[in-house]
Amino acid sequence: MSNYGFIWTDGTDISDAELKNIIISSEHPCLKFAESGTGSVTYTHDGRYQDVLIKAHNLGYEPMFYFATQWLDINTNNLVTNYRRGPFTDSLSGRSIYFTANAYSTTTQLRLSIGSFTGSGAKSVTAKYMYLIYYDPDL
């Protein structure tokens, strides 16, 4: 009963195709976009994580998501890395500055916990991010 409906392939006999050669199968859900967008977040090196709202949703469950952000040097405001998929923690050479970006979903929001530590200056920097929320739950 479960394998019913569309099973499309490209150049492969459907009757004995492996799943990797099937384009759409009624047995396996496709990732469906609910929300997508971009934004920016400003953070300092005050030694605390900032927990910020990325996007509110009304799905009522924790959805799967994709999140990527820039990382900027808290002292120089220079771009350290371009868009990098989160969550991640990294440090500059010599471990003088740590950076952590951890996105997570709740039943109503996509949020970001972000922080930079051990910087010597008192600057704040603004990093751009991009996100994508799926309808499919984070099982």
Partner: protein, 204 residues
């Protein structure tokens, strides 16, 4: 006396009629045969694909038909009009719906005809009302970068692999080279790497 308007198909009938029939009976029988012959001729025309009245086998229209079995590969063309739907049932539940402006496949046990809400879209395998990822590239990459030229920062996933021919391990540790994306390239890939890039992305 022999009728003079016998068709080709009926020629000879008159002479072969039972001897006991009188002329009037033979004339009536001949007219009946002529009527039936005309009907047979129309059926022959119909089978040959010629129009008979408004009916034509090559462009047959049936208002309502119940077909016990049909081979799907004989269905080659057709357009669904407003309000028309094709529903496929898996034996228990209606799971596939095709209409003029919608294609849906529901998960097992979910009625594909249910009203769509924000919170039940997760119950569908496929919804043409929502956007899906389209794969742009999936494969092994050596050299630490891949040029995609999408003009936007794409959604991507990458792993370090131990071989591009017979890989046994896909991984990405904090100590590995961590990939980053620009609007034209994926850079700082582990070498070698397995990379998936979708067409969807952002212009942040």
């Amino acid at each position: 006396m022999k009728p003079i308007l016998l068709t080709k198909e009926l020629s000879g009938i008159w002479d072969n009629m039972p001897k006991g029939l009188n002329i009037i009976e033979r004339a009536k029988l001949t007219r009946r045969l002529q009527v039936n012959q005309r009907r047979l001729n129309k059926l022959d025309e119909l089978f040959a694909g010629q129009p008979v009245g408004t009916a034509k086998f090559l462009d047959l229209s049936i208002t309502l038909a119940k077909i016990a079995g049909v081979s799907a590969d004989k269905i080659t063309t057709g357009t669904l009009s407003v309000g028309e739907q094709i529903i496929i049932n898996d034996g228990t539940t209606d799971r596939v719906l095709i209409s003029r402006d919608d294609i849906r496949i529901s998960k097992p046990g979910v009625d594909v005809k249910k009203n769509i809400t924000e919170t039940n879209k997760k119950d569908f395998i496929l919804l043409s009302l929502t956007e899906l990822h389209k794969m742009r590239f999936a494969g092994f990459v050596t050299g630490g970068s891949y040029t995609h030229n999408l003009g936007k920062v794409p959604v991507y996933f990458a792993w370090k692999v131990d071989s591009v021919v017979t890989p046994t391990k896909f991984s990405l540790l904090a100590t590995d080279s961590i990939p980053k994306a620009t609007s034209t390239k994926i850079i700082d890939l582990p070498n070698p790497a397995y990379l998936i890039i979708f067409n969807e992305g952002f212009n942040p």
